[in-house]
């Protein structure tokens, strides 16, 4: 426990150090460029504090809610389907070609169509992000399940485990580390897609806020939006890490 808390404290100071380094770099860039388009960190942070009470907080909330809801939906659909495709060969034979053909298509090109069908509100944005993250989770889970050794499954079956219990006690825990890794990577994609989807035909969300500040030539406000976007990303990363530490503790032990 002592070692654990020492490691955590070390990690914490590591993050603080990295943040300070980035702020210093930013400050240096702002000084040397002397361009009003790149505000100093101080100006951006002051703008963030000032605007948070006004409406930045609301935009932040809207974006958070969109990205969290889409990721959860993608997980809820992609994870079970990935487990089934990985284990049930007959179903995989049928679905795999479909996935292989549709996976490389950039789903973002469907945005105009999605806007047309689902309207300009939350639904279209959530659908688009879900659509993209879903594929990543599906493919990762399926491949992880395929790597599970048949002996591990035999071991559970020899204990009297039925098919459902193979999913519950073997396939799910065995694929979880990979699922969380793909979730971590998907977060970056999800936020990028979120920004894109929010940057037109909407009046809510951080993407809108950033593009709106840009068009009003208010760089400090634009950077306030960027800071919030960064915090959203880091926050989601920490949440995934938290679950990783709880659910996949066995992966992080000495000797692994």
């Amino acid at each position: 426990m002592n070692l654990r808390s020492r490691i955590l404290r070390g990690k914490f100071w590591g993050y603080i150090g990295a943040a300070i380094f980035l702020v210093v770099l930013w400050q240096y860039a702002a000084w040397s460029l002397k361009n009003p388009l790149l505000p100093t960190p101080k100006a951006a942070i002051l703008a963030t504090a000032r605007l948070f009470e006004a409406d930045l907080g609301r935009h932040f909330w809207v974006s958070t809610y969109r990205v969290v809801l889409s990721t959860l939906t993608a997980l809820l659909v992609g994870l079970p389907l990935g487990l089934i495709m990985g284990f049930e060969r007959s179903i995989d034979r049928f679905l795999a070609p479909l996935v292989y053909i549709t996976y490389p298509i950039p789903k973002i090109v469907f945005l105009p169509l999605i806007l047309l069908f689902l309207g300009l509100g939350d639904a279209s944005k959530i659908f688009l992000i879900t659509f993209i993250v879903f594929f990543q989770i599906l493919v990762t889970t399926r491949d992880a399940v395929r790597r599970v050794q048949s002996e591990t499954i035999s071991s559970l079956r020899s204990l009297g485990g039925n098919r459902a219990q193979v999913y519950r006690y073997v396939l799910l825990p065995a694929s979880l580390p990979d699922v969380l890794t793909s979730l971590r990577l998907s977060m970056g994609t999800a936020i990028a897609v979120l920004f894109f989807a929010e940057s037109f035909a909407t009046t809510e969300g951080l993407g809108y806020f950033i593009m709106d500040s840009w068009s009003r030539a208010a760089p400090d406000e634009m950077f306030a939006g960027i800071i919030m976007m960064a915090l959203l990303g880091v926050g989601l990363f920490i949440v995934v890490d938290f679950f990783d530490n709880i659910l996949c503790r066995w992966q992080h032990l000495k000797g692994n």
Partner: protein, 255 residues
């Protein structure tokens, strides 16, 4: 009695049919400790899979205490090669898994599992994960998990092959104690001649070939006697098993 009658096991491979077992027959008495020894790929492990019900024969029938085997049985415990532990479960959870799979409530299995963990000397590591255990400890966990199911048939696939000499001897003695104490019917697959003679009340020597053949059957009534390992009889039996295996062409490394 366990009866394997006229069993066939075939599979197709590149246009030709491979016969692993062809009209194979075997009887195992209750309370017997049967050891299967033979070269790699001779079908020893496959026989365990057939007995466990994990793999159905393509022909013939297997009966355990008069009941035909159709899928896995509640009272058969099978310790797979490499122990079959789940790396994401700690010792306690691994040991209790068989009972949880059988829908036993926590209140019921907790005491059983705790007793078994203490009996196997795993008390200090019960919250550790398999990757944090030594080979001997892992094997004890696998044994504990099998025994909590109170089996009437225990199948073991090379349970001690990855262990160092001392740990191996200690666990051989433990296996012998369990077998004697519980009058448990056991079938054990091994590569080690000494282990076969130390643990088997009957030893079957299998020959590499398609299909598998039994080249020798050795009764070993003195098994379990105090100091058996040091007796002349023990030496005589190991030499005999060795000679059978050599005739069958066991490779050097497996001895």
């Amino acid at each position: 009695m366990i009866e394997v009658s006229h069993c066939d096991l075939r599979y197709n491979q590149a246009k030709s049919q491979v016969k692993v077992y062809d009209n194979f027959n075997l009887k195992i008495e209750q309370g017997e400790s049967l050891v299967l020894i033979g070269p790699s790929g001779c079908g020893k492990s496959t026989l365990l899979y057939l007995l466990s019900g994990l793999m159905p024969p393509t022909g013939g029938e297997i009966q355990i205490w008069g009941e035909p085997v159709k899928g896995t049985r509640q009272k058969t415990a099978f310790i797979l090669q490499e122990y079959g532990l789940f790396p994401w479960l700690n010792v306690e959870q691994n040991v209790s898994l068989g009972l949880r799979v059988r829908h036993m409530t926590k209140g019921k299995y907790k005491v059983l599992v705790e007793d078994m963990i203490q009996k196997m000397g795993l008390g200090e590591v019960k919250h550790n994960f398999p990757s944090q255990l030594s080979g001997g400890q892992r094997q004890r966990v696998a044994l504990a998990r099998a025994l909590t199911l109170q089996p009437d048939l225990l199948l073991m696939d090379e349970p001690l092959s990855a262990l160092d000499a001392l740990t191996r001897e200690r666990l051989q003695t433990l296996l012998l104690e369990i077998w004697q104490e519980q009058q448990l019917t056991t079938v054990l697959v091994t590569h080690s001649i000494e282990e076969a003679v130390f643990l088997g009340s009957r030893i079957l020597v299998l020959l590499d070939g398609r299909p598998t053949q039994v080249v020798g059957e050795i009764l070993n009534p003195l098994v379990g006697q105090r100091g058996y390992r040091q007796t002349e009889e023990f030496f005589r039996k190991t030499s005999y098993v060795r000679s059978l295996l050599e005739r069958g062409g066991l490779d050097e490394s497996a001895k």
